[in-house]
Amino acid sequence: MKVKSVIYYKIKKVSVNVLIHLFLISVSVTCLLPLIWMVVSSLKTQETIFRDMSLIPREFHFENYYHAWIEGGFGRYFINSILYTSLVVVGIVVISSLAAYAFSRFKFPGRTILFIMFMAAMMIPIPGSFVPLYVLLNKLHLRDTSIGYVLCMINVGLSTSIFLLKTFFDKMPKELEDAARIDGCNKLGIWWNVALPLAKPVLAVVVVFNALNVWNEYVLALIIFDSKHLMPLQVALMTFQGEFITKYPLLMAGLTITALPIIIVYILMQKYIVKGVTQGALVG
């Protein structure tokens, strides 16, 4: 009887696992297909890219990567993009976690109104905002400067990040913070030493979310920058897809190159999404 039930549970466990893996694998296949297509296409030529859509190219044109890099002038733009992305992400993480922590923990007059304002901002897209933004930046002498662009992009990601972080701060146990306060830690110290480490998983999400956002942005950059040497990487990609002619292999090579850093950021951040667990375990 007992043996039977053990076998029964074993079978059940195995079949559940198989089902789970089947589910995971089938979703994975759809995710991988476009990626593989992109990479394979980047190795084809303009002539063969649509003639034979197969996923195994006959010849490998690795020189596409070289051409994409040179023609797109990637070197300079790459550095710009990395600079903008890291500045914006650091800015957003600091500013939004400060604000979200205050919204979650402190009581002060106007708290609800301010928070609702941020939430509303997240939801109301302002379609023509590039015009007033342009005029404003022009008046502030921030147009065609990196600082102007970085500040605008910080603003873009701010509301959503505050919302994300506040949700998680609300959910987190307060006991540790109380303990720290009794130990004589001030508010800023608690935020830095207690709250932020606990929020690592969601901070990782905030980092990935904003990094991707900034990395892929080009419309605003195109509007406020006149100088070529300030442009981000996406602008270089646009030169491969002209109004009439798209250089597909170079575009795919360029897209592959630009996707890499984001994937790396994601892999790095993933570690923290896991690490959060052990931290959480320590708390209890």
Partner: protein
């Protein structure tokens, strides 16, 4: 801790300070260079080369600044009008109405004095159709002062293309001479399970362009313009006939599946790889097809006509044009550069390097075969921007989207005609 509060408030104070301290524009830079904004990715390299030649010749540096894609470019130019930061030379994308607004806002220099100098020397070297897009007649509908406000740097036409090999396979040695024969080929295509006509009809303007040609063919230019002026209704039998053509084409099987949502670049892939018999595309396609399939055996023709009453017409004229900023301090230099750019030699170079049709008519020799066919069609070309009247955008949209509905079998041509007319009446009422 205290430090943090200091920093936090310092940020606020600095920000407020920046806000309050205002204005004073950037000082104007070196007199010996001009800046050109454009969106033409495919011509960037050729422009750079020309700029180099110009600098070697005159010592004036020309900064070509590329901002792509064209949508974002268009927004940039509009934003720059609000900040008064337009460059010395730039291009405008959009309809004649927008062009007119730029002129009325004082952003664009009237070039007619330069065009007409020395017995219209500069003016006469252009195709008149190419220049027409940039001309504003006295008393025009856009309330701008009359004049020539832009320099065309190339021309284009939009035509029908046919794959010679596939036609032969279907048993036709020649492209269809009229619409009936076109539909016959459609039936054969359906039987052979091939794909007929591909085009970017997901981007509605290409539908408009196709329909317009047939409207000219069926009722003549004057009646089309009278419709726009509100004197003829869209419910007129001639317009219903234009709309019915799309139903006929769909019924015969000449339209490729998925045509209604097809993006032009996808249509180009299909035609270039001999997956479709016909295409409806602009002269830029020669360059595209060459890149994707150099051995493609194809020809260009006017869309097969329905009626003998009026000539068939296609869209064409100026491809892209440059304008000079009326508020720039370097107007003279800018004009001189544009004069040089549209000179014979430079136009020749641009045409060869980019496979576009030159706007300078003295340059039209030794073009590749299909490109020459496109160039030949320029005499049959017209464009909404030269009609002097503009249809309401809402009406154009109702018309084009209506044609999509006809193709997917959702509405009859009569229903679409009625709907378009009701939109037209609504817009007319709003204007009054």
């Amino acid at each position: 801790m205290r430090k943090f509060y200091l920093v936090s408030f310092a940020i606020c104070i600095v920000a407020a300070g920046i806000l309050i301290s205002g204005c004073a524009p950037h000082g104007s830079k070196n007199a010996n260079y001009i800046t050109v904004w454009h969106w033409m990715t495919d011509r960037e390299a050729a422009f750079m080369e020309l700029a180099k030649r110009y600098e070697a010749k005159t010592g004036v540096r020309v900064n070509f600044e590329l901002y792509a894609p064209s949508d974002a470019y268009s927004q940039k130019v509009r934003a720059a009008t609000q900040g008064n930061t337009l460059p010395d030379v730039f291009g405008i994308l959009g309809e004649k109405r927008d062009f007119g607004a730029f002129i009325r806002a004082g952003h664009i220099l009237d070039l007619s004095p330069y065009m007409l100098a020395n017995n219209s020397e500069w003016k006469n070297q252009f195709f008149s159709k190419a220049l027409a897009v940039n001309e504003f007649a006295p008393g025009n509908n856009y309330s701008t002062p009359p004049g020539i406000y832009g320099v065309p740097i190339d021309v284009m036409t939009i035509q029908m293309l046919y794959n010679k090999d596939l036609l032969k396979q279907l048993g036709f040695n020649k492209p269809p001479k009229d619409f009936a024969e076109f539909l016959e080929i459609g039936k054969k295509i359906k039987e052979a399970k091939m794909q007929g006509l591909v085009s970017g009809w997901g981007e509605v303007w290409m539908i408009d362009c196709f329909a317009n040609g047939y409207a000219f063919n069926i009722m003549g230019k004057e009646k089309v313009l009278n419709t726009i002026k509100g004197k003829v209704a869209y419910t007129d039998p001639d317009w219903v006939k234009v709309l019915s053509l799309f139903k006929d084409m769909q019924d015969s099987g000449i339209l490729a599946t998925g045509l209604v949502t097809m993006i032009n670049k996808n249509a180009e892939q299909l035609f270039a790889n001999s997956r479709a018999v016909f295409a409806f595309n602009g002269s830029w396609c020669v360059n595209v097809y060459k890149g994707m399939n150099p051995n493609l055996n194809y020809g260009a023709m006017l869309p097969p006509k329905v009626s003998e009453k009026f000539p068939m017409s296609i869209w064409g004229g100026a491809g892209s044009s440059f304008m000079v900023n009326a508020k720039s301090g370097k107007k003279e230099e800018a004009v001189k550069f544009l004069q040089w750019l549209t000179g014979k030699e430079q136009q020749q170079y641009l045409a060869e390097a980019t496979n576009n049709l030159p706007s300078n008519k003295n340059t039209l020799n030794k073009l590749p075969e299909v490109l020459a066919q496109f160039a030949g069609a320029i005499e049959s070309s017209t464009h909404p921007n030269v009609w002097g009247v503009s249809e309401f955008p809402a009406v154009i949209e109702a018309f084009d989207k209506g044609i999509q509905s006809i193709i997917i079998g959702e509405k009859t041509p009569e229903q679409v005609a009625q709907h378009v007319q009701s939109v037209k009446e609504r817009e007319l009422a709003k204007k009054r």
